[in-house]
């Protein structure tokens, strides 16, 4: 249990990020920026078809071109990859499952030569009818995206693939008796909602530089959120000892979940092997980032809610059908996590959720900031507003009545305690901030204003045994280096860990550094940097590592001062005996061991280690979904005010208030930045973003020209972050994660505000002006 100190010197303060200078000067080195001697450049040939048999590949002309060092096709690579489900080849073998799937790859002296060689590869396809939505894929007699699903390896006891179907995972949640609950309701609504697949759009596309070294050794530099998971999955893929594989992660230009798991690393390694061990660089083009690398999964939700006339929700039934695309190596866990969170932060006695992760012939899905939650909350939080309208109850009041509170149980049977945070207070805070119940008017008669509200929750979704190590080594000048293998790809966690280390070590912040460039050869284990769990787990590990350093410092100081360690205190980078506080020894004189005047020395280099492993998590029962999946829950709420153009249907978001129960805000400036950035990313999902496919399954908008994300012109006039601090008993200084939550109910709140403004209900994202314009026309009826 972390020590609670008040006042705190660094924790809770807006300490600047240490990486700011490197990034502002262009000296921060990303994988894109690596140039190794003799390095080759790779290009990928992708499938033009969504589903086809590959009947012939001829690489002879490509191999003969000047500068070409290696050409690979799927026939050369008999491997399957995946984090939770090993279903993904490195290059397509025998068949292609989505347009954009890698079919062949070339390493050459220049990118230009590699691209020309790809153009010279002749591939003959036999196109087949693709499965372009989950209804087709679930239909009786539908072709199978993965004929061999029943032979795949997957995490047993956690996932339930259904052999000889397109269902990669079926997650069930059963609580109470949903039929009885619905029968007891006075009002029952049933609504259907849709989310399209959405690209992550990190500004840095995926990039890898790999070298296959003699003795079956591999060195990889990768733009990844997951150095150790990459290493582990490479070891499994190539059947190598972990120690043979070294993964470096330098600065990473955004991830948002898309760089978790494993991506281009195996291809780069295979190309390096085929090119005699020369370094090979693979950098995804912007089109490949959208169309070859994974996106957020699409979702269709069918939600049934029953309630009493007083607003008490009696039952909720939901069917979530995920459009996983061609592979579900990561998507299976999204279907699982979104199911156990799939009733929203409400106390519901009778609940049945079926979450199906379904293969189709589209670009495949993976984790995306909030991991299934933005998608299910789009349905749940719109449905709760529709229920409120049917009941004639204010949407805020209806939510207040049903929110989880101390003493309630979640739909998987977890008991909610005082340490869980307060969704009701988040809701109250945003309702007040937005002026709920007060109507404001636009000066423009063509514009209608409206307000909307939505609540949210999310817990980290991860294996029950997820763990994180931290090391701190003290330098001879008394400063401290923190080594850790979570990745700071912009969220600022290294800065908060630095604050925690300085606080715990009782060192000035300037004397503490977190080492950039994760390296699996030196940095201690961390599972993956995902799910808003790094500050929590890394923070706890750093607290322990700092305590270990202090133990070692005190032991040495006690010898130096001729006392016992329990009579040593530490303060401002100095140790002293509590009986004689005037004689102080700088950490620097203890860091490598203490040397007496006669030359005798004691102690030795101070190296502290700390660790944290998720506590108390259980697998979910495969039939009922009951169990304990959440390390912690972060609750929150959004409120928005929008203006809608009555003629064009265009939405302008005027104001957003976001409240999150952070437990403890470790760094207010960084937390503020997470909220503002997350809200704007949420606006992208709400208003603009979503893949569009033609009838043959070709992705039509894999670029910034056709696939817009918010620009500086699209931001709201005001974004107001509000933080509550209900301490998380096992969190570092009481903190819980807040990185994903700022975006995950933004679309719901805007969808609710849209009805408030112009009286139309839109059930599908994005809320494009075209879609809203149509809905307004339909409401008017034929003129």
């Amino acid at each position: 249990m972390p020590e609670r100190k008040d006042p705190l010197t660094y924790v809770g303060r807006s300490i600047q990020r240490e990486d700011g200078i490197a990034k502002a000067t262009g000296s921060a080195t990303f994988v894109h920026d690596l140039f190794l001697p003799g390095m080759l450049h790779a290009a990928i040939l992708t499938s033009p078809h969504a589903r086809a048999r590959i009947t012939r590949i001829d690489t002879s002309a490509a191999s003969a071109l000047p500068g070409v060092r290696a050409v690979l096709t799927g026939e050369d690579l008999d491997y399957l990859l995946g984090l939770y489900m090993r279903d993904k080849p490195i290059l397509a073998r025998g068949e292609v499952r989505y347009q954009g799937e890698p079919v062949a790859a070339v390493a050459a002296d220049s990118l230009d030569a590699a691209r020309r060689a790809c153009d010279a590869i002749e591939v003959t396809y036999e196109p087949l009818d693709p499965l372009l939505d989950t209804e087709q894929a679930l239909a009786e007699g539908a072709p199978l995206v993965h004929e061999a699903l029943h032979t795949y390896q997957y995490m047993k006891g956690v996932f339930s693939p259904v052999p000889k179907t397109n269902i990669a995972h079926h997650q069930k949640i059963r609580q109470g008796d949903v039929e009885a609950g619905l029968a007891a309701a006075d009002v029952v609504i049933e609504e259907r909602f849709d989310n399209p697949p959405v690209p992550h759009v990190p500004m840095e596309t995926h990039a890898v530089v790999a070298r296959a070294l003699p003795g079956d050794r591999i060195e990889v530099h990768t733009s990844s959120q997951s150095p150790y998971t990459v290493r582990h999955l490479l070891a499994a893929c190539f059947d190598l000892p972990h120690a043979n594989i070294r993964v470096h992660v330098p600065y990473v230009g955004g991830g948002f979940g898309g760089k978790a798991g494993i991506h281009l690393e195996p291809l780069a390694i295979c190309l390096s092997r085929a090119a005699g061990g020369r370094a090979v660089k693979v950098v995804a083009s912007r089109e490949e980032e959208c169309n070859t690398l994974p996106s957020r999964q699409g979702l269709r939700s069918t939600i049934t809610i029953g309630a009493k006339t007083d607003g008490t929700i009696t039952a909720l039934r939901a069917v979530y059908t995920w459009d996983a695309g061609a592979y579900a190596d990561y998507g299976v866990n999204i279907g699982r996590a979104a199911a156990y969170a799939g009733a929203g932060p409400y106390a519901i006695d009778h609940c049945a959720i079926d979450s199906y992760v379904v293969y189709t012939n589209k670009v495949y899905g993976t984790a995306y900031r909030g991991f299934g939650h933005l998608e299910v909350l789009w349905g749940i939080e719109r449905a709760v507003d529709l229920l409120a309208r049917r009941l004639g109850i204010d949407p805020v009041d209806l939510r207040m009545k049903n929110l989880l509170r101390e003493g309630d149980r979640t739909i998987t049977g977890e008991a909610i305690t005082a340490g869980h945070g307060r969704p009701d207070q988040c809701l109250e805070a945003v309702a007040q901030a937005i002026g709920w119940g007060e109507r404001s008017e636009s000066g423009d008669p063509l514009k209608a204003r409206g307000k909307g509200i939505a609540v949210l929750h999310k817990a980290p979704a991860m294996p029950t045994y997820t763990s994180c190590g931290a090391m701190i080594k003290l330098d001879e000048d008394g400063s401290a280096d923190v080594l850790i293998s979570g990745v700071d790809y912009g969220q600022g966690t290294y800065t908060t860990l630095r604050q925690i280390a300085a606080e715990e070590l009782k060192l000035p912040i300037d004397a503490v550094h977190v080492t950039w460039d994760c390296d699996t050869a030196f940095s201690p284990y961390d599972w993956q940097t995902v799910a808003s769990r790094f500050a929590f787990m890394g923070g706890n590990a750093v607290i322990q590592a700092a305590a270990d350093c202090l133990r070692q410092l005190k032991a040495t100081a006690a010898l130096a001062l001729d006392t016992t360690p329990d009579r040593i205190a530490c303060e401002a980078g100095e140790a002293y005996g509590t009986d004689a506080p005037d004689r102080r020894i700088l950490y620097g004189r203890l860091a490598l061991g203490y040397t007496f005047e006669n030359g005798n020395s004691v102690g030795g280099p101070v190296i502290g280690h700390g660790r944290y492993i998720a506590q108390g998590l259980t697998h979910l029962d495969l039939e009922t979904g009951q169990g304990h999946p959440a390390l912690f829950w972060t609750y929150g709420a959004h409120a928005v005010e929008i203006e809608v153009d009555r003629e064009t249907g265009e939405i302008e978001v005027l104001r957003v208030a976001t409240a999150l129960d952070a437990g403890k805000v470790l760094n207010p400036a960084l937390a503020h930045g997470q909220v503002v950035g997350g809200v704007v990313q949420g606006l992208g999902s709400a208003l603009y973003e979503g893949f569009v496919f033609d009838p043959s399954g070709r992705l039509l908008n894999p670029s910034f020209t056709d696939g817009k994300i918010p620009t500086m012109k699209d931001i709201p006039r005001e974004i107001r972050p509000i933080f509550l601090e209900t301490p998380q008993p096992d969190g570092p200084y009481g903190a819980r994660g807040v990185a994903e939550h700022p975006m995950i109910a933004i679309p719901s709140a805007i969808g609710n505000a849209l009805y408030d403004a112009v009286g139309v209900d839109v059930h599908a994202l994005p809320l494009s002006s075209e879609r809203i314009h149509r809905a307004m026309n339909e409401r008017k009826g034929p003129s």
Binding site: D19, A22, A24, T25, D112, M203, R286, G673, F704, M712
Partner: protein
């Protein structure tokens, strides 16, 4: 056509105050020349289609997306990249404002964002909020939500001697 693209040309230009020369294929972009020939990797490649602004540099004082400029077009020109912004080793007021206002998260868009702002401040030392947004709306950032970037440019304009608003 493809032969034409691979024909090489000699170019001479000034980059961050230093004379540079190169023998470049006609099809090589200024972005590739800066990154792959001069190893000035602070300039980033985000889309190579002129849509994201990560590769923004100043060409004869004007902000351009260097992925849409051929290296041969920069022959005789003066180019400023992010590496020239802190030329004397100290952060410029603009860079300092980006750091201190929290305008940086992952940092991949930052060099292009700073160069676009530098181009703006060079021609308009005292821009309004709307002028900042106009000048920088071609630079995409997926992390920050832009608000802190606008604040950083406003602050730098004040500190660098633009008239206070």
């Amino acid at each position: 056509m493809s032969d034409e693209i691979h024909k090489t040309h000699d170019i001479h230009l000034t980059v961050n105050g230093q004379p540079e020369t190169g023998q470049v294929p006609a099809g090589m972009t200024l972005l590739a020349f800066l990154r792959e020939r001069l190893y000035l990797t602070g300039t980033k490649a985000g889309c190579e289609a002129g849509e994201c602004g990560a590769c923004t540099v100043l060409l004869d004082g004007r902000a351009v997306t260097s992925c849409l400029v051929l290296a041969v077009e920069a022959n005789g020109a003066t180019v400023e990249t992010i590496e020239g912004e802190a030329a004397d080793g100290a952060l410029s007021a603009l860079q300092r404002a980006f750091v201190e206002e929290g305008a940086i998260q992952c940092g991949f868009c930052t060099p292009g964002m700073i160069m676009a702002a530098r181009g703006l401040l060079a021609r308009n030392p005292d821009p309004s909020r709307e002028e900042i947004i106009d000048a920088l709306s071609g630079n995409l950032c997926r992390c920050t939500g832009y608000e802190a970037i606008i604040a950083a440019v406003e602050r730098a304009a004040k500190e660098e001697g633009g008239r206070d608003a």
